[in-house]
Symmetry: C2
């Protein structure tokens, strides 16, 4: 077995390859060629253990994640864990990957693939609301998908925005990075906008004139009480694309609009159909919402594992 | 994080220490100081994935096991997997242990602790029915608990019995090892008998005169359709001790006798009470049945992990 940590991933993997893995996962999703049981949650006080198994024809495995909110105060990551891959013929564990790093890379790749399918090729500016881990990864992938010249950042914490700016400047060449004073200012200057927060109050201005003719990628809200998109957004979009059918039961960004009647279920479409058919969405105002699924993890993990084998990278472990 | 394989365990661990860990697990069980969700099963054709999480005050973790029956034909172990231990304050993975090895050691330790509490100190002979992995481990532990001079082995495959004999001779000094021609012959020559098969037809002779005044430790049957103990055994035992309350729902060795009326539920007792009170069971015919539980895994794994840290053993992994 080999163990692959974040450093290893960074060393060997091209972001384009992980986006290809995500597109393959979408095609497997469309073809229904997988077993993906519901996520298993175990709660202990404020802490959560999550098990996300997934079985495909070629590979199976499990992402095991711990969510310990108090880690913030201990200067430790809130989300930790490992992704285990098993040989599909014998079940033998063949690979483990740092679970937080895998999640960061695959979520970035899902956003990147979203951008590819919902925006025209010529866009040159993106905005990132929420300067956390995903703020960084979404921007990184966006620059591989489109010729981005400007990144706008907005975060309630100016310090976080500044840290992200520095980090992105170190990672991406020839890029202008601005810190916006408000989400309205960010929206004015960005063609496509990523929301990467866990807020329960919409982070975008509830202003039709600002929201129109923009491309939105919702990454943050993954629980019923979380919501990033404002009411008026649903007046300017005709359709909402989602990564998985169960998104409408998981995120407040769909649950609330559906229950308030701002959005009809018939307006929610699966992006996997578009990807399988190699189409492009060409609406002028567009919304893609991702909540993630174990199928993405398994395809991304397998791509990383294969690359690690090829490059001879990772810590070798005698079982 | 460190990874601990079978070689590492063999190098550093004394069997007595793992039996102490099992006794501590029993006390935690009695004190109800743990969270142990039901085992999670995922089936894919004939293969099974099992997740066994357990949370205690000091430590938590998960044993993840794959059961691939066709591995027999591929000369690969049917059961494989890993046990993961996490830091109880932060959730950080701190240790992984070969899951099959851990299971082998802990199941042996559970049998050893059973022997300690249900047999008098003077017994000198044991019998082992079923010459698989547990045939080996049960005998190994028995020799640490009592001054065993003779081990009798019975298996339907003479070759398996011979392989186990050789293996035990290499592992235990000053021991006489006989291969019995039948389970009746084994029973005649053994004071305590371990059953370590996955049969659905009782492996012991249905003969009261042979069964009386013997000590039985049931290790093998862990499913409703598996049964090692014959009907007459329930005429000669007054009480059946179990490792966990849910044993009566899991093994055919209790389900069948209960449903046929050979055994009353009031006759089933938890060995943990005896262990907590540091008592000894003194009946002349005695039956202990184990089905195992995640609490045993977590206590055994933690004992192995601590020892590995102390001895500086295991593969170091940068998360």
């Amino acid at each position: 077995m080999i163990y692959i940590n974040e450093e290893n991933i960074r060393e060997i993997v091209r972001l384009e390859e992980l986006m290809e893995a995500i597109e393959e996962a979408y095609i497997a999703y469309e073809n229904n060629s997988f077993i993906m049981p519901d996520r298993i949650h175990i709660n202990n006080k404020s802490n959560t253990l999550l098990y996300m198994p997934c079985i495909t024809e070629k590979v199976f495995g499990t992402k095991m994640i711990t969510v310990f909110p108090d880690n913030k105060n201990l200067n430790e990551p809130v989300i930790q864990g490992v992704m285990m891959l098993n040989d599909s013929v014998t079940g033998t564990p063949v690979c483990m990957i740092n679970g937080a790093s895998l999640t960061a890379y695959r979520t970035g790749a899902v956003g990147g693939v979203g951008l590819k399918y919902i925006t025209p090729k010529h866009i040159k500016s993106i905005g990132v609301i929420g300067a956390g881990v995903q703020g960084y990864y979404q921007a990184l992938y966006a620059c591989k998908v489109r010729n981005i010249e400007t990144i706008n950042i907005f975060d309630l914490s100016l310090q976080s925005a500044q840290i992200l700016k520095t980090k992105l400047q170190e990672s991406i060449d020839n890029i202008v990075i601005n810190i916006s004073k408000s989400s309205s200012e960010l929206l004015e200057n960005s063609e496509a906008v990523y929301t990467c927060t866990t807020t329960n109050k919409p982070v975008l201005p509830d202003d039709k004139s600002l929201l129109e003719n923009k491309y939105f990628i919702g990454i943050g809200s993954y629980k019923p009480d979380m919501r990033e998109f404002p009411e008026k957004l649903f007046e300017v979009v005709e359709e909402v694309y989602v990564d998985t059918a169960f998104a409408k039961e998981e995120t407040g960004d769909l649950i609330t609009p559906l229950s308030k009647g701002w959005l009809k279920e018939s307006q929610i479409k699966s992006i996997s159909t578009i990807i399988k058919d190699k189409k492009q969405i060409t609406k002028k105002t567009m919304l893609f919402k991702s909540v993630g699924m174990a199928l993405f993890d398994i395809y991304t993990a397998n791509a990383i594992y294969k690359k690690a084998l090829e490059k001879g990278v990772g810590t070798k472990i005698k079982l």
